[in-house]
């Protein structure tokens, strides 16, 4: 019960904090406006979302095979591919590639967050830069992200200015334009000096071994292209059968994340190459010479076998449900561990295997059901939370 008490205290503190609710109120209003406009402009998205639900159902039903197929395709493309059964295994593989004393630029990755990747790399004596603006702010503040897509959603520009002034030793004004320019300046040289670039992926096509990355800042593009070594850490549930499927999943994901179209959709299938001299394929042109993809299992294949909870793996991580959750609106990432909201309770239970950690979260769900109305693939998170309570209460 002490875990619940500590959690409840954090939840109460967040709910009392006007900074969080004001920031969220603005974010929710702007998200809803954006997603309404995006769906109005591209009405085919609704039908496509139904198709994506089917794609995910099929993919999760043959998860193991598809991951195997994706690995083979990546190897054919001259990349390296691994399946890590546990977070420790994933970290061990990454250690083997990275070693220590390296400069690393990193795109935001929830899967990385799941295994505490940045902290681990830093402990091994590497210098790691989060390159997503929000994540960079969170890293500087030494706190945990508050939202999947907008980790620093609760930090106002005044605080960002103070933070950046401290980092640069200059007087940075509380002006968003100036703040963005400052971060661009700080990270610019890191991208090109880094020995290793890292990121996750939103979808992976098994047939071609292609990673899809949806982004707006261009930081993932740079992280995956500028350094000589590129490592992608991907949750294995991200794999779908074909590249055509992957396009559909990607489009539905960004639209429900509130974008008509993102600035970038990166497709990465292997290390960079050229055949321009005598048609001899040579690896390591302008992009990385080496590419590694690590598919993380950590409870996912077990979850895929579970008829009650497998639906959780359909989650596209568009973040839409969080904007509809009345509790998230006042507590942000405090309603969650690394994964947030009702769906986060299920993910926490399965990826950590720790019911004591998941219990406070699953008992926080209001069961109000508005998240399900928003969800493009109609995941019934509230019902799953009730089923998780059953497993907790009855020990079955």
């Amino acid at each position: 019960m002490s875990k619940l008490r500590a959690y409840k205290k954090r939840l109460q503190e967040a709910a009392r904090d006007p900074q969080i609710s004001i920031a969220l109120e603005r974010a929710i209003a702007s998200y809803r406006k954006n997603v309404d406009e995006a769906l109005k402009k591209f009405p085919h998205t609704l039908k496509m979302a139904e198709e994506v639900r089917q794609i995910k159902e099929e993919s999760i039903s043959r998860l193991g095979d598809l991951v195997e197929q994706a690995c083979e395709a990546i190897r054919e493309n001259k990349g390296e591919a691994f399946v890590a059964r546990t977070p420790d295994e994933a970290l061990e593989i990454i250690d083997g590639i990275v070693g220590s004393g390296k400069l690393i630029v990193k795109g935001k990755s929830l899967t990385g967050e799941e295994i505490d990747l940045r902290e681990h790399l830093e402990e091994r004596g590497n210098e790691v830069y989060e390159t997503d603006l929000g994540e960079y702010i969170v890293q500087l503040l030494g706190i945990k992200p508050m939202h999947l897509l907008a980790p620093a959603i609760h930090v106002p520009k005044e605080e960002v200015a103070k933070l950046l002034s401290k980092v640069t030793g200059k007087d940075i004004p509380p002006d968003i334009q100036a703040e963005v320019a400052t971060v661009r300046e700080i990270l610019r040289d890191k991208f090109f000096r880094a020995q290793v670039g890292m990121s996750g992926a939103n979808v992976v096509a098994a047939d071609t071994g292609t990673l899809f990355q949806i982004e707006n800042e261009g930081n993932i593009r740079l992280s995956s292209a500028a350094p000589p070594v590129y490592i992608a850490l991907v949750g294995m549930e991200k794999v779908v059968p074909t590249i055509e499927d992957a396009f559909k999943v990607a489009e539905v994901t960004w639209r429900y994340a509130g974008y008509t179209v993102p600035a970038y959709l990166n497709l990465v299938s292997g290390p960079s190459k050229t055949g321009d001299i005598e048609k001899v394929t040579t690896y390591g042109a302008h992009g990385p010479k080496e590419m590694y993809v690590i598919f993380l299992d950590a409870g996912r294949s077990q979850l895929a076998q579970d008829p009650v909870f497998q639906e959780a793996l359909y989650c596209l991580r568009c973040g839409g449900c969080l904007y509809e959750c009345p509790l998230f609106a006042v507590t942000a990432g405090r309603f969650g561990d690394k994964y947030f909201g009702g769906i986060g309770a299920i993910w926490t239970a399965f990826v950590t295997g720790d019911l004591a950690k998941a219990a406070p979260l699953t008992y926080s769900c209001l069961s109000c059901g508005r998240c399900k109305v928003r969800c493009p693939v109609e995941i019934d998170a509230p019902q799953m939370c009730l089923e998780l309570r059953k497993r907790i209460a009855e020990g079955s």
Binding site: M1, Q12, S364
Partner: protein, 336 residues
């Protein structure tokens, strides 16, 4: 180890569970049928009026939650003390007195259950009422995760209703309605009782030509209880009812309505686990509802009623009234 796991269930929910298992209702108190003592309702009949714990203990629940919220804000472990009246007394909170004050203050004529029965009688429907014998639907067991115990209770409830020859239930609480209509068939074989929510019965009569009329004009907004709108799909019915009442100027919420309605903050047992946060959510919801300019908030759920009333109180909106649809309908019931 089941015992060890049970410790992960929040104590507030264990309290409700204990009440249901030992006392047969969620508040663990008796005399739930006081509201109907002078109505002379029959305990016989094929159609049953199912009042539900939430409404029957409405005043007590409101007082208890208020007290609990005060303790919760001070960071006190109220769950352990709720059963210990002496401890509450030490803190200056006299539950008995609080109950008394509230029951005294709340006039019987304002009781949503009484109003609902009067409305039904006005429609020539005279359902039976089991009074102290009314079984608890036991939904909190289900929501807390104790599905096996819930299933056992469902079997027992089915046996009781069958023995009395009940074919139809008119239910007041959305959660009881959902439980009897949607959950019971999942846990029982041969559950054949027809379950309607009070609003469905009223709407049917209005469609047949019945006219409700308020003596004065008021601007009313409507709060969708989550279970009613998203679980039972009763979205249009309450709105049609409000639009049909003469004297009601219906002002619907702009965006957070129907299937997009915002929860009042009391759902799935949340209010007994996180009372303070629940209170904040209630205030937020009331703000959305009052943005319509309405002076009366109507809803159809005892949980929502308590939450929204607390929200209105917190915002010091003195001219605003939160009332149950049954209360509004009673005031608009045509003279026979």
């Amino acid at each position: 180890m089941p015992i060890k796991r049970e410790r992960l269930v929040p104590e507030g929910l264990l309290l409700l569970r204990n009440n249901i298992l030992t006392k047969g209702n969620i508040f663990g108190s008796s005399a739930k049928a006081k509201w109907a003592s002078d109505l002379g309702l029959s305990s016989q009949g094929e159609t049953l009026f199912f009042a539900g714990c939430g409404y029957q203990f409405l005043d007590g629940a409101e007082a208890t939650l208020s007290a609990v919220r005060a303790l919760d804000k001070r960071g006190l472990a109220w769950e352990r003390t709720l059963g210990m009246t002496s401890f509450l007394n030490k803190l200056g909170i006299n539950l008995g007195e609080l109950y008394g004050k509230l029951t005294h203050r709340a006039r019987l004529s304002d009781n949503p259950l009484r109003n609902a029965v009067e409305v039904l009688q006005g429609m020539d429907i005279a359902p039976g009422y089991l009074a102290e014998e009314e079984p608890c639907c036991a939904a909190p067991l289900y929501y807390a995760g104790f599905q096996e115990e819930f299933g056992d209770r469902a079997v027992e409830t089915q046996r009781q209703l069958q023995a009395r020859g009940i074919k139809k239930v008119i239910s007041m609480v959305p959660s009881c309605t959902y439980t009897l209509r949607e959950l019971f068939p999942r846990f029982l074989t041969e559950w054949e009782v027809e379950v309607s929510h009070f609003l469905e019965v009223v709407w049917e009569r209005i469609q047949q030509g019945m006219q409700f009329r308020l003596p004065l004009e008021i601007t009313v907004t409507y709060h969708d209880p989550c279970v009613l709108s998203r679980n039972l799909g009763l979205i249009e019915e309450p709105r049609e009812i409000l639009r049909s009442i003469e004297g009601v100027d219906f002002a619907d919420v702009e965006r957070n309505k129907e299937e997009w309605s915002t929860c009042c903050g009391g759902g799935g047992g949340f209010e007994v686990i996180f009372p303070e946060v629940s209170h904040i959510l209630a205030v937020n919801r009331v703000k959305e509802l009052l943005a319509t300019g309405a002076s009366v908030i109507v809803t159809s759920c005892p949980g929502c009623l308590i939450q929204l009333r607390e929200g209105v109180k917190e915002l010091k909106e003195e001219g605003v009234q939160v009332m149950d649809m049954a209360q509004l309908l009673r005031n608009a019931l045509p003279e026979k």
